[in-house]
Point group: C2
DNA sequence: TTTATTATTTAGATTTGTCTAAATAATATT
DNA sequence: AATATTATTTAGACAAATCTAAATAATAAA
């Protein structure tokens, strides 16, 4: 099955919005892809024709087994390129998403597998997201909670759920990245902000919104 | 100036066919791009509009200064990716062209420059072609002749002019690559075939057609 | 349960890049 | 120089991916 870039992008976004099994709505997908609902409807018909999604008028979209397989390949490529950019070309965390967005569309299995090997077959990308293997299998995620709900005192950053450039740049400025060790100093009930100490730095206070998007596990 | 993939491919092929200053014909370009002459005419109008080429009806095409600059950037990306694929991902000589053809369209200067740095700022690619630097400057090519016209006995392979998979696979099978040392044993007048000894191997005979596409310089 | 609101789809248009077939220009041949 | 051949362009069509505006379905509110 040879997918166009537009088709791949739709498949990938459906996968992202589905989060397991949820039905994806036309509007949500249009918003995610920065297009119009009418365009999504058009594409949905095409992808249904190709048996990559299940879709009935007005009933929303889910990936078929084939669609999920395709999505995992795209995600694999995306995350491997992110690793490459960060580890080999010294790009910072927040810069890599857009570039990986382009590189992911080079659909060569051989290239993908060689790249993976070159990187030491990593299983998580620089944002902490798991990288599907050549068969599309995801490493089972280690238990993690968002920082605002963590109860342990000493924690390690394992992922960031909002990958907007703004948040990633903020975290970068504060010296917070994957694997960074944190210590919770205080919770402020008033606005649910949290005071944390980043290992080797002085304490800072972060908003609830930021805390919600930082995933951690106990050290 | 933001070029589409189709526009970039046209620019690149014009650059390739121009070889310095020659005028490129509609038919030649169509053949090179595996499209139809009518399509080339359409694109020529568009590229002229964008001031990337000089073009008058029935008079053929040449690159403008801007067009040449754009072409050199594309060529730079293409050749850097070829280096990456061969040196870092252990692809063989003849496999990399198609992949680089896709990777070259990721138009990020930062990525290109970081990649170049990562590779040690190479000045020739795995086929022996020079890699333009960030300003589009080409290393001046060292004096070289095709193997069928060489007069020295002992030679080094510096480039291959026909990059068809067939030829590259042939050379690969015979253990001939960039930097390979050759010794000319005999010329056969009958069909202009040449007997050569590849360093460390027994002698082989190659056709005139092959010899014409292997560039060498005296050892 | 009507009515209002929101979500989704349809119909028809647009852009990009391509094509075929026909027309025209340039070049080669007699 | 007239004619034949080849190269190039034009005209009109098509597919992919998108859009806007209007129509319809689903859902929420009165």
């Amino acid at each position: 099955m040879n997918l166009s870039i537009a088709e791949e992008n739709h498949i990938k976004s459906i996968y992202k919005l589905q989060e397991g099994d949820a039905v994806v709505t036309t509007n949500a997908l249009a918003y995610e892809l920065d297009t119009k609902p009418a365009s999504v409807t058009d594409m949905a018909k095409k992808l249904k024709e190709k048996k990559l999604i299940e879709y009935e008028k007005y009933k929303g979209i889910t990936l078929s087994a084939d669609g999920r397989k395709a999505a995992l390949q795209i995600v694999r490529r995306h995350r491997l390129w992110e690793c490459f950019l960060v580890e080999k070309l010294s790009f910072s965390w927040e810069e890599v998403h857009e570039l990986a967005e382009e590189l992911e569309h080079v659909r060569s299995e051989k290239l993908t597998n060689r790249l993976s090997e070159f990187l030491g077959n990593p299983v998580i990308d620089p944002h902490g997201d798991p990288i599907p293997d050549a068969n599309g299998k995801l490493a089972k995620p280690r238990p993690q909670t968002s920082l605002d709900q963590a109860n342990a005192k000493r924690l390690v950053v394992t992922a960031v759920t909002d990958q907007s450039t703004a948040l990633l740049a903020f975290l970068n400025a504060k010296g917070i990245k994957l694997g960074t060790q944190l210590e919770i100093m205080a919770h402020y009930e008033y606005d649910n902000s949290i005071e944390i100490k980043v290992k080797g730095q002085s304490a800072i206070t972060i908003s609830e919104q930021v805390a919600k998007n930082i995933m951690v596990r106990p050290l």
